[in-house]
Amino acid sequence: MSSGAEGETRMTTIKVDGVEHEAPLGGRLLDFLESIGKVVPRFCYHPGLSVAASCRQCQVESVGKGPRPGTIVSCRERIVEGMEIHTDSEAARKARAGVMEFLLLNHPLDCPICDKAGECMLQDTAYGTGQAAGRTVEPRRHLPKRKSLGDKILLDNERCILCTRCVRFFEDVCGEPQLTVVDRGDRSYLDTFLGEPLRGNYQGNIVDICPVGALTLKKFRFRSRPWFMTSTPSVCGLCSRGCNITIDVRNNRILRIRPRFHGEINRWWMCDEGRLDFDAYNMQPEEGRLAEPLIRDGEGERPAELSELLALAAEFCREGPALALLSPFATVEEGEAFRDCFAGLDGARAGFLAPGRSARADRLLHTDDPCPNRAGLSRIEGLEAVAPSEIGDCAGKTVFLSGFGLDVLLHGEARTALGRAERLIVHGHRRPGFGNPALLIPARTPAEKNGRWVNGSGIEQRIRPALRAPTLVPDDLEVFRGLAERLARPQEVKA
């Protein structure tokens, strides 16, 4: 956080609660206090935003040299020589308790209804340092409680404590101010410019950084209490940025996705696309999720054992010139196993689908590459990158399409070309929507497996399973290993 070139950070000794510490000269006091384990409550300060110092909740007492003696706002203060700080003195506590009392003057007693309850900074701080009962008898201020800010976010003006984090997010991070505090003093409230709906692909972040429940996500509203959900750290798969995310799951359904800090990739943010587009991961068998191995049987299909399907698939692959196409959503491990499958097969062409660049890139996070693991798969020797235009004519061929997301990335001509294949084997999380697959092997979604992805800038990251796959859906690696075994030793296949 401190400015100045690396290695030039000068250290100085300051006293915190009577103990001497080495601190970076010119560093932010609040960050330093936090780094040595002091708990300093704050609402308006966020490391990713400019400093407003408007909530005054992070006050500590300064008694030494440096800033004026008395309580100081630690998020705004820089570390200077000879500083002496008391974080828990009478004066500091009194100042913070006073701030809390003012904040709670008009805050509605909404916690049982409010979605933020359980992860609310105001609630936590009120528990920790606030008083149990208010002293006011005056009626509370009433403001609009359900104001829609576009199609993603809902604003509750009563709950807002005017920390302006969301205002600064649009100014500092997006560079396009959209929210503002209207009116002055005790009448001020948060609103968009001219009351217009919010625009852009990064609105969801203001819900994360809102310290209270003023901004809520429409998609998540009232879906679950935060403490009922299990959080799994993983990586977003909707573009090659590889934003670090936390997947919150309850009853084996994803309810929301939040960004997770990564200093070099996404910092504290993520785009709304990655945040809200998780319905494909939540797809249930009754909604079209492929949940068991199926074999085409005349006009219909019949369920079968995976081993039977793999044996048939191996036979098909040996029969015709085979084209094996892996989804760019596959992990590095799967890519290697996939290549090994077809390495020894004559006339087989194995590759991963490398679709063209999209027009989706923006200044902030979203890249123009819709594949989360293009970089990782292109590193694998013997696995060629196949653009949709290079698929060529598939008539008379055996085509093996493998992995989550292939159907989404294939369009128009490529679909028709693949649909003309003599024998189409589909290994996917749902039916492809083209061709007439002879074999349907269920695949896992990225939210159901372990593995590595390499993002567009070459950073290797691990994805983790947040959901349990349906019982009869094998791990993708198991499918590739089973297929490799049957391709390598054909005589045993019939057994």
């Binding site: 916690c111 049982p112 209804i113 359900r146 009232f222 879906r223 209490r225 403490w227 009922f228």
Partner: protein, 172 residues
């Protein structure tokens, strides 16, 4: 191991048994004329005192809306995890209400913690103590079966309020 046997020798009266039998009969006859503590159950029902904790029920306001706001405090506190709530949005001023509220009475241990924790006085222990049925499914109560008009539960609500006021006097 050495065992020490304590042997009580019976008196002559005890060995004769007749006085003991008479003693027993006397006891029996004495009891016969006392007030009965048993009852002819299915015909004569037990009227539970107000403090009794029967099946938890949801309070329905006079206007037919549930009092519950689906805050999930009872779901959290429930020791045997008998409660399942799905929240939902309403058009009313109180924006949240349970879309689904299930109490599995096979699990419920009638501890009353849900009633105690509820910030809205929306779930109360009723006087329903006969909790047997022939199928498991019928003992999982959904919102529709749990919602009870406030008039039927007002005694219990008043009682818990009294207790609460007593325990949480303003001096504390």
């Amino acid at each position: 191991m050495q065992v020490k046997r304590l042997e009580k020798r019976l008196t002559i009266a005890e060995r004769l048994a007749i006085p003991e039998i008479l003693k027993g009969l006397a006891f029996t006859f004495r009891i016969m004329f006392r007030k009965r503590v048993t009852r002819q159950y299915p015909e004569e029902r037990y009227e539970a005192p107000i403090a009794a904790k029967g099946q938890p029920l949801l309070v329905e306001n006079e206007d037919g809306t549930p009092r519950c706001v689906a805050c999930s405090m009872c779901e959290v506190v429930c020791p045997p995890k008998a409660i399942t709530i799905t929240g939902g949005e309403t058009e009313r001023e109180i924006e949240r209400e349970p879309e689904e509220f299930r109490i599995d009475m096979l699990r419920c241990i009638l501890c009353g913690l849900c009633e105690e924790v509820c910030p809205k006085e929306a779930i109360v222990m009723s006087d329903r103590l006969e909790l047997a049925d022939f199928t498991r499914e019928s003992l999982v109560f959904d919102k529709r079966r749990l919602l009870t008009p406030v008039s039927e539960l007002s005694n219990r609500i008043r009682y818990t309020k009294e207790k609460y006021d007593k325990w949480h006097s303003p001096s504390s």
